[in-house]
Symmetry: C2
Subunit: 188 residues, 2 copies
């Protein structure tokens, strides 16, 4: 009978890969079951429903990205840290567009509390500590930094920059320069 040997972990992992291949919007329980050579209904003993699947992919992605960012940050400070952190974000989105999309959609309170709010903004704060901003300016800067990195990543992924010949890599590099300059010269 050759069982597929499904577990929640394997299912979610495969779902993440599928999302990267076909897009997060096209991540369906049916397609996932097909990939395992299994009937749709079989997956529902591992998943609550389709929304549950998407949330689990989001949690996986948040944890993965946090790990990468943490590694990138290790031993760095100042602008080095800023650049490493931002690149970890952007590179992850390029490598795993489906997972990155998953992270954005499903920020329900419980999910967000699980991983993002904790590790991600904590790392951002760690970077900003090098710029010595008093509160509440540091919080504002955290939000600005997140916004810009996420916004750039999202717009670039959606193809929003391809109408202009300017290289997006160069603009990205310049954007990080500008953010560094801004943080070092934060308006009072």
């Amino acid at each position: 009978m050759a069982r597929a040997g499904l577990t929640v972990e394997r299912v979610v992992q495969a779902a993440a890969e599928l999302a990267d291949e076909v897009g997060f919007d096209n991540l369906t329980v049916s397609a996932l079951a097909r990939r395992f050579g299994v009937k749709d209904a079989s997956l529902y003993s591992h998943l609550k429903n389709a929304q549950d699947l998407r949330e689990r992919v989001a949690v996986l992605a948040l944890a993965e990205l946090a790990d990468r960012a943490a590694s990138a940050l290790a031993g760095r400070a100042g602008k080095d840290a800023l650049v490493a952190f931002a690149n970890a974000y952007r590179d992850y989105a390029k490598e795993h567009p489906g997972r990155y999309a998953a992270m954005q959609v499903d920020l329900t309170p419980e999910i967000a509390a699980t991983s993002r709010a904790d590790r991600h903004s904590e790392m951002t704060r760690a970077i900003l500590r090098g710029y010595h901003l008093p509160e509440p300016d540091e919080t504002d800067a955290v939000r600005l930094l997140h916004s810009t990195v996420h916004g750039y990543t999202a717009l670039e992924a959606a193809g929003g920059f391809r109408h202009h010949p300017r290289d997006t890599e160069a603009s990205w590099s310049k954007t990080l320069d500008a953010l560094h300059a801004l943080l070092g010269n934060w308006p009072s």
Copy 2:
């Protein structure tokens, strides 16, 4: 028999309203037909398919937002213009979350060429002209500005900022101050 009197315009307008109410993801042809008191199939003489519906909503939203931004920009310059433009964006996203979401997803080349690439980034350039940046810095600044405004709007809408007590309105205001300062002191 009391016909519903459907036209493409009315259908798309209603779709935009529906998207704002139930979320862009939940915008379906079926739900729209239900709202008109009409069978699903009837809408397919006005629409090519479901994707076509979403794209039309995106085009509508892009045009509406461009109009608003243009009005907000009229007669303003410098920081006033920057703030007015950014607020037009953010306010629109708050008022019309479904339409704002529509704008992001569907940036296929043809659609984008229709409205966004033209009017939106042209207005952004008009604002930046006040800061006298040479090329390619102006292009980089356009991308940074778009990224930050969009990123902040998206993260705020997704609830990404509600884990911290700091008022999002105050952070937004400070973010615009910071952008203004940055543009006025762009690193070479």
